[in-house]
């Protein structure tokens, strides 16, 4: 959608979309807190929360209330400005990334469409590490600082593998726009299956994503057993809640990006999408439409959310299964396994594209 007209109505609808998507992403947080506790309980032969509401569904509300009612402690000796800034820095980039994700086939299901949205999301994802590093530094606590250092080192070693696996997607689709990537997948099949070695890129991307969101088994930055609580040791009350929410928002955003890049986004059986048609001069002939109108757009959104939940479940599944990596194992894995593998994969995918040039 290339509308750049800033009349009042389009501004209004833009605001409505922003609020709706912001609310949607934030609603995912309590759902995820509940889901995580239930799913991990399942994996540990337990029942999980079942006192508040049906199946314990009101548990996140109680958790949130408890966190907000707690005393907000600012320890002596902290760098106050950075100490207050860090939780915001954790939250804001995570939410900003939602701006370019195509939640559905129609233009009203996304906030905007940048033609370099892949780079934009990648940029915001790497900004998240600043929150952790600054929180650890500003806390003036040795455990926090250790967590921050680990997080920084982890980011550097994983972002590379992640970027290299992203390149294969861009090579296949020939675009940096998330919208176009999904539309291509809708017409040509999911990116995981488009080249024989694309599943390697997907695996590398997913592993790096777990590291990116600081989830088990790569939760070295918080490592309860070693570092008390890592970078958020000195945070309490709502500032801690901000880190907590940011972790879940990051999970949602990362799952959304993984779905968009590799698993076909909103595409699925029943969604009949007609891409926009252009004439030889590049002028728009017919705009992109979804056959059947808004019910089918919502069906696309449903597919997208279902795929996101598949990823989120996998997150929890991995957390319930694998023990935490040791610091040096993590670095070894990042630099000596993921980077060479994704480099080789770029080569393989490039060969495949050259061989089957007529497919692309």
């Amino acid at each position: 959608m290339g509308e750049t007209s800033f009349d009042l109505m389009s501004l209004f609808w833009m605001l409505v979309r922003i609020i709706a998507i912001f609310a949607g992403v934030m609603t995912m947080v309590p759902i995820l807190i509940w889901m995580e506790r239930k799913v991990v309980a399942m994996f540990q032969f337990r029942i999980g929360p079942n006192r508040l509401g049906p199946f314990g569904a009101m548990q996140p509300l109680a958790d949130a209330l408890k966190l907000i009612m707690k005393e907000d402690i600012t320890p002596a000796g902290v760098d106050r400005f950075i100490y207050f800034l860090a939780p915001l820095l954790a939250m804001v980039p995570a939410l900003l990334a939602a701006a370019v994700i195509p939640f559905g086939p129609a233009s009203w299901t996304r906030i905007t469409d940048l033609n370099h949205s892949v780079l934009y999301t990648f940029l915001l994802a790497s900004l998240g590490v600043y929150a952790i590093t600054l929180a650890g530094w500003a806390s003036n606590n040795k455990y926090s600082l250790m967590g921050a250092l680990r997080s920084a080192a982890q980011m550097i070693s994983y972002e590379l593998g992640m970027g290299l696996s992203l390149i294969t997607v861009v090579m296949l689709t020939g675009t940096f726009s998330l919208r176009e990537i999904v539309e291509q997948q809708h017409l040509l099949g999911w990116n995981v299956f488009r080249a024989p070695t694309m599943f390697i890129a997907f695996l590398v991307f997913f592993i790096a994503g777990i590291a990116e969101t600081n989830r088990a088994p790569f939760d070295l930055a918080e490592a309860e057993t070693e570092l008390v609580a890592g970078f958020h040791t000195e945070y309490s009350s709502f500032k801690f809640a901000m880190f907590f929410m940011a972790e879940y928002v990051n999970m949602v955003i990362f799952s959304a990006i993984a779905t968009t890049l590799f698993m076909g986004g909103w595409s699925g059986p029943g969604v009949n999408f007609q891409p926009a048609a252009y004439d030889a001069a590049g002028a728009l002939v017919t705009p992109a439409t979804v056959v059947g109108g808004w019910p089918f757009v919502l069906l696309g959104v449903f597919y997208f959310v279902a795929k996101i939940f598949f990823f989120l479940f996998t997150y929890m599944w991995i957390r319930a299964t694998l023990p935490r990596f040791r610091y040096d194992q993590l670095m070894n894995f990042g630099w000596k396994r993921l980077v060479p593998i994704s480099l080789a994969n770029i080569f393989l995918v490039a060969m495949f594209i050259a061989w089957r040039r007529d497919w692309f």
Binding site: V39, A41, M42, F43, F45, R46, I47, N50, W317, I318, A320, T321, L322
Partner: protein, 183 residues
């Protein structure tokens, strides 16, 4: 195969945990219970709060011999015996326990009193919830209230704890009729 392909161990482990998760949700693998509503069955030989048994005709089994008090390593039991009135008997023997008190704060639930008892009067029952409950009218705010008196521990005839050994043997015999011969 599992050793040679990198990542196979992770895949195997993930499969195992998923199997258990499904078993917990849809099968019978779940090992915790919703405690106040459900309780886990106690084993036959569980040692909980004491009970004082009666014979079928309602007479108390306790004859006030104080052997339980002598056996008690924590000195938690206090027994005072009195002569039975032949017209209005409390127990079948010469004497009965006029006072029978157990200090539950001293008791270590070792079961020596049960072993020492010549008539099977005192037994360690299945109740372990010696905390404030809505259905038990007991005030736990004072230490004095943890000294259980005879009336609190006496149970109706036939309500006693079954002999754990014979019970266990019955269970085994039910499963395998030849069990006693094998044993």
């Amino acid at each position: 195969m599992a050793k040679t392909v990198p990542g196979m161990g992770i895949i195997k482990g993930m499969g195992r945990t998923l199997k258990h998760a499904l078993g917990t949700t849809f099968g019978k693998e779940q090992i915790t219970v919703s405690y106040p509503e459900q309780e886990k069955p106690r084993p036959h030989r569980f040692r909980g709060r004491h009970i004082l048994n009666r014979y079928e005709n309602g007479l108390e089994k306790c004859i006030g011999c104080s052997l339980c008090a002598a056996a008690c390593p924590a000195e938690a039991i206090w027994v005072e015996a009195a002569e039975n009135d032949p017209e209005n008997r409390v127990s079948p023997g010469e004497r009965y326990a006029a006072r029978y008190e157990i200090n539950m704060l001293r008791c270590i639930f070792c079961g020596y009193c049960e072993e020492a008892c010549p008539t099977g009067a005192v037994q360690l029952g299945y109740d372990y919830k010696m905390v404030d409950q809505q259905d038990v009218q007991q005030d736990w705010s004072s230490r004095d209230n943890f000294i259980f008196v005879k009336e609190q521990m006496l149970v109706e005839p036939g309500q006693g704890k079954p002999d754990p050994l014979s019970q266990a043997l019955d269970e085994r015999l039910k499963q395998n009729p030849n069990h006693d011969r094998v044993w």
